[in-house]
Amino acid sequence: MQNNPPMIEVNSLRIDYDNVTAVDHLSLSIPKGQIFGLVGPNGAGKTSTIKALAGIIEPTSGNVKIAGYDLESQREKALMGLCYMPDFPPVYENLRVWEYLDIFAAAYKIPFKDRIFKVRLWLDKVQLTDKFDSLIKELSRGMRQRLVLAKTLLPDPKVLLLDEPASGLDPLARSQMRGLLLEATEEERTILISSHILTELRDFCNAIGVLEKGRLVVSGTLAEIREKLQMKKKIHVITAESFHQFKFGIREYVQGNPHLHNMDEINSNKFILTFSGNDKDASAILNSLVEQGLNISNFHVKEDDIEDIFFQIGAKKVS
């Protein structure tokens, strides 16, 4: 733990609005280099949490530490290595594209002589070089989002807070945004990313926290959560011909095998087996099915991803 101290530490965070508690007793510890996905439905408290971590809203109680610095008493030091990107990109419409990046480089105390170099570099990375001198009001929504991402990454932050970074974007812009974010994750940054679009998080998160009604229902790495929730894997089997004549035999086999729990028929050529074993057990199951005479064209073991975890928790209605 000492070798990898937490970059984001939240202790008993509570955020109240006028007549609603948005976040309730949230405690979180995200070590260096971890990409933490904050998952939850709309209104779960994701944006409030991120805003409190960015120092924008004052929590009712609890404390936040960024890179070991207390956000309330050591605000400037804590925020020096932190950048925040909201879901809706606020921009100065009458500013030029390069000026926008330049002012935020100045806000993060990047020396005057280095700023224009960094601005050009990041405009190139987000493919806005040709818009260098354009007014921001002339940019499309996707371009603005990329510009704000460039502004967020330009100071080379150690901690990134991304609040629904691809919301409101078309599929192409979303794909571009995902590429840029994946690039951002290559360096050893600590990233907290929130989204209610779960496929967005699947590619880069190595840990998640599920928020529901302001409470952190579960958090940890995906493996830890699977273990906590005792989640089972799924074996997807696709046959070249209809498996109807073998159906009875397969069901008997499922009942007799301690690693298999259930069989779901998808169609005449596909069925899913609920499984809780290791690779050896899976290999043994494959052999048994082939021995029964099944003409298998595709057999793969699939672990539950973020989406499955979210739905499983949602189904349990933990709050």
Partner: protein, 536 residues
Amino acid sequence: MLSFFSNNALFLVHSRERMRSTEMFARILIGLFVIGIIFANAYFKEHYQLDDGYFRGVSDYQKVYVPWPFKMVSDLAVFQGFILLLFGSVSAYRRGRLERTAGTLDFHRASPTAYWQQVIGLFCGATSMEWVLFFFVFLFQVVVAFFSPVILLPMIMFHLTLALAGLIYQLLFLMIGLSLNPRPQKSKDFIILLFVFISVPLFYNISRPLTHHVTWIAAYADLKHSFDLLFDINSRPIHDYDTLNMFFGVNLPSFVLSFGMKFPLIVFIYHALTRRIARDDKPLLSRAMTVMLVIILLVLFLGSSFHYFLSAQTDNIQKPYRIDVSLFLYFVFILGIGYSYLVTPTLLSYKKELKRSLVVQDGVIVMNTKYCCNSLWMICFSVITAVFYYVIAYFLQTPLPVCCMGLFLLLSYVWFFSGLLEFFNLSYFRHKTILLYSIVLVLWVLLPILEMVTAQFMRARGVYPTAIISPVYGISYVGDGLMMNERFRDFSWYFLIIAWGVAIIPNVLSFLKRQQIVRDLRNEGFPAECDMQQEG
């Protein structure tokens, strides 16, 4: 200094947007055009109708009246006033509002830039254009001064005083822009126009050092006075110029007094701006700062009217202090209402304070609530007010019982309002402010009017009980008491009991509401407890 501004994000944003070369060029061109017209008006005016009805040429006019450079400097000074006070205030307001509506302020809040740097950056960037134009016109005036007998020193003093006034107005309007609801609404620029230009003549008519020196009037009065001294001008003199520069009975240089009065206000507005930049939901001033503001404003008021109160020792027939007594009482009342707004917590801030004051004593959760409610702060206000009230009563030689009755009556209005405000803020009615103002309107205006009209019909005389619960009428009774006027004889302790009875009701309600909130929060328990429960 240069490095500070070149690395200040908010300054860079607003100065870049406002000082684009094309815009700058256009404004300087307009400025030169206006200067040209002013020059032409001062120098080339061929004929002028004098009081005797004859038309004279340029030379006669200039012999009788002020030479043209003086007229030009005066007219340019008016132009500068427009630039700094009107355009500067509008720009500060718009830029503050832009930051709120665009949501960009959140980025700056999340940046490692200190809040004080953000305030300076935003202010300087938002008003950069107006200050550049102000200095541009100033340079023009300096050039005129070198070619004419215009004395540089009064001109520089004028600019310093006007710059201070400009600072106050612009900071104030920046704060308004940052504080208003960010949702789209109609432009409020016209309110700025009204405030800057229509409210000031009212202050001018009051003609007291405080009202004179906190506005822009002082700058122009000083300039006019210095020109009047140089020439035998047949113009309306500024009435009581010397008394306008008196503070605690001492005659001070105008600029010193102007600086002394404006500087504390600038500090307070700056402090409020820093708090507003940091958070949207916090009151503009902390409670401690609000108490300090009240003390400073009362000291400034007392110092400003001191020589009038002092005159009570020698002249008790003409009563030259009667305006000051009324002003003081209304000043305290308005101050009390403003104070109530600043110290009364909203439901959210009250809950936050309670959460922070959670302490464990012998294993039991206790809430240290004494700093959270506004009763303690209202007692503080009452004590401060009482000190100044007794100082004035001492000069006016008012008997102690009368003095006490007046003070308690005056404070009952402030206590009533603060209690009502606290109850509304903490209760279900917090979003129904219209109800709060309706109650105030009925009790303070409509009911007393109704009773007075009825009494007129019935030809009844004396003090009306429902008039006493209204500051609109009650404050005049307090004034009568302080000055020992005949009318106060009709007043009795009975009326005071009515006034305080009305004031106590909302305070009891808010006390009960506070207790309920404390109970609810205590039932919620400690954060640590909840964590343990979760883990368990």
